[in-house]
């Protein structure tokens, strides 16, 4: 490689590197340091070891559990529903364009507006679900969907709503790449629709499934806007996920240290999940070998 070419590469990448260091590099390094430093009080600015983690330790089990339920509770259904819609749209029928467009719609909407719209739907006084159930005589008293017992499910449904289009899009384009001959051959061999799905469609979608599920998991794990706008982490701690904790530590406790401790916990768990998925997806490979 010539010197001028090297210079060219460096110059091309320099602005990218600067911005990424500024927006990710430094703050991320700073998270790792802040998590072990005191903020406010007598230990301000000092190295405090694991004290920040001790301070939040009582909340960790509950918060992590809630975050995991929130994540898997919304990612897995979104994947399944996304696949179903993609299968439907994989053939031509009247109105297909409309069906595709409508099912992509939620993907365009800002998460905070997703929260506001779902709060309308769940409202005890005028929410559509309660009004509908009362009109058809299924209930007398409105159900309070955002109460302690059901709030987590309620926010998960909103998240599923927003995540389906992403799974749908990925499966939709993946399905078009499956060679038709495989299906034709299978039909000739006498395979029914379920067998065709099990032995042709699913194996062909494996790569898409693994990448989509990882991306959705990583993003859902730390989604903030929907919960913040719908329940604020409550009632009590029913919807208190790690991202809500980070916000509270930062603005209610004004403590960058404990906020960073939560961030580190989140990064750690996310890394674990990603590795786990990776392993799972690769080990399953054997199943699909024909």
């Amino acid at each position: 490689m010539t010197a001028s070419k090297r210079k060219r590469i460096v110059l091309s990448l320099l602005p990218l590197a600067i911005i990424l260091c500024f927006v990710y590099g430094y703050p991320l390094a700073s998270v790792c340091i802040s998590a072990f430093r005191g903020f406010g009080g007598s230990s301000d600015g000092q190295f405090v070891g694991l004290e920040n983690f001790m301070t939040i330790s009582e909340d960790i089990p509950q918060t992590v559990t809630t975050t995991l339920i929130w994540t898997f509770g919304s990612v897995l259904p979104a994947m399944v529903f996304g696949l179903v819609i993609a299968m439907i749209c994989n053939r031509s029928f009247k109105g297909k364009k409309v069906v595709v467009a409508i099912n992509l719609l939620p993907y365009a909407i800002p998460l905070i507006i997703v929260a506001s719209c779902w709060r309308f739907v769940y409202n005890s006084d005028f929410g559509l679900i309660n009004v509908f159930l009362e009109k058809i005589g299924l209930i007398d008293e409105p159900i309070s969907f955002l109460s302690f017992d059901t709030a987590l499910i309620a926010v998960i449904v909103a998240r599923i709503w927003r995540a389906i289009p992403f799974a749908f899009m990925n499966y939709y384009s993946a399905l078009t790449t499956i060679p038709q001959e495989q299906y034709e051959q299978a039909s000739i061999d006498g395979a029914g629709p379920f067998q065709r799905f099990r032995y042709i469609t699913l194996p062909n979608l494996r790569a898409t499934t693994s990448s989509t599920i990882i991306v959705l998991t990583v993003w859902t794990f730390l989604v903030f806007d929907i919960i913040f706008g719908m329940t604020g982490g409550g009632p009590i701690d029913a919807t208190m996920t790690i991202s809500m904790r980070i916000y509270r530590e930062m603005f209610s406790m004004k403590n960058t240290g404990t906020a960073s401790a939560w961030s580190l916990i989140a990064i750690f768990i996310l890394t674990l999940i990603t590795i786990l998925y990776w392993k799972l997806m690769n080990s399953k490979e054997d199943d699909y070998v024909e």
Partner: protein
């Protein structure tokens, strides 16, 4: 599988698509009902709009017009900045097999995995020390940062499909590197750049957490912050929240519907953000 299929299969498909379409549309439909209802009648049960208070939309627009403008401004500035930084970088990554290229790609992937909320506490601290809190410029820079990885990935994918011969032709014509990029590569990269630009624009327009941490002056608020502000008022004016939400989603929805093909292309090219 392009045949019409059996009758039961068709019925199942129709029923399912109706259900999924209803599910996708219900929250929006609900917002329409709320937005058309006068505040005094809000507690009334409505399955379809009983009122047609279109003035709610005017009131809401009056409140948020300035913020929609801000959202546009931040999103547009971030789009331009991202594109300017990404094009040379993505081109180098796509064309020159230099040492450390894998490392760069890995860092890009990693940055896409990190949600804003994780770094925002320390980002807040950093901008505070630099005296850059509560500034529109800061917001634009952070928007650019969080979208760069995504756009570089898209651009890189597109550039690697361009024929190598272009470069050789340019070299023969005596073009230098900058000229190569601006005269030869840019004009034929419209679609690739468009996909990237659409994603940055919509992501930035929809962004909420970043300005929530970094801005305080309501004159600088993007639309998303104003909607939250309305949503958390002591007395929630549901009709205004509904109307503001509906007005606010128009730009991204229009973009998505119009450029649907590019969006799907971008998503499958690795443009994450579920």
């Amino acid at each position: 599988m392009s045949s019409k299929g059996t009758l039961p299969g068709r019925i199942v498909r129709t029923v399912l698509s109706v259900i999924f379409c209803l599910f996708a549309i219900i929250p929006i439909y609900m917002a329409v009902i709320i937005a058309l209802t006068p505040y005094a009648n809000m507690l009334e049960a409505q399955l379809w709009p009983h009122y047609h208070e279109f003035s709610n939309f005017l009131d809401a627009f009056g409140l948020i017009a300035h913020n929609i403008f801000n959202s546009f401004l931040y999103a547009a500035a971030a789009t331009v900045l991202t594109t300017l930084i990404s094009v040379p970088a993505a081109y180098a990554l796509a064309r020159y097999p230099f040492r450390g290229r894998t490392a760069v790609s890995f860092v890009l992937l990693l940055s896409q995995m990190i949600a804003g909320i994780v770094i925002l506490p320390t980002l807040y601290q950093m901008f505070n020390e630099l005296g850059l809190l509560d500034s529109s410029l800061t917001v634009v820079i952070v928007y650019t940062g969080v979208n760069l990885a995504l756009v570089v990935t898209i651009h890189q994918g597109y550039f690697s499909t361009l024929p190598q011969s272009l470069e050789e032709a340019a070299a023969l014509d005596g073009c230098n590197y900058a000229q190569l990029l601006t005269r030869i590569i840019l004009p034929i990269s419209g679609p690739g750049i468009a996909v990237g630009a659409i994603f940055v624009f919509v992501n930035s327009y929809n962004e909420f957490v970043i300005p929530l941490f970094l801005l305080s002056d309501s004159d600088k608020y993007p639309l998303t912050l104003t909607v939250y502000s309305l949503l958390s008022d002591t007395t929630i004016r549901w009709h205004i929240v509904g109307a503001a939400s509906l007005i606010g989603i128009i730009p991204p929805v229009v973009i998505f519907t119009f450029f649907q093909k590019y969006i799907i292309q971008g998503v499958t090219a690795g443009a994450v953000k579920g």
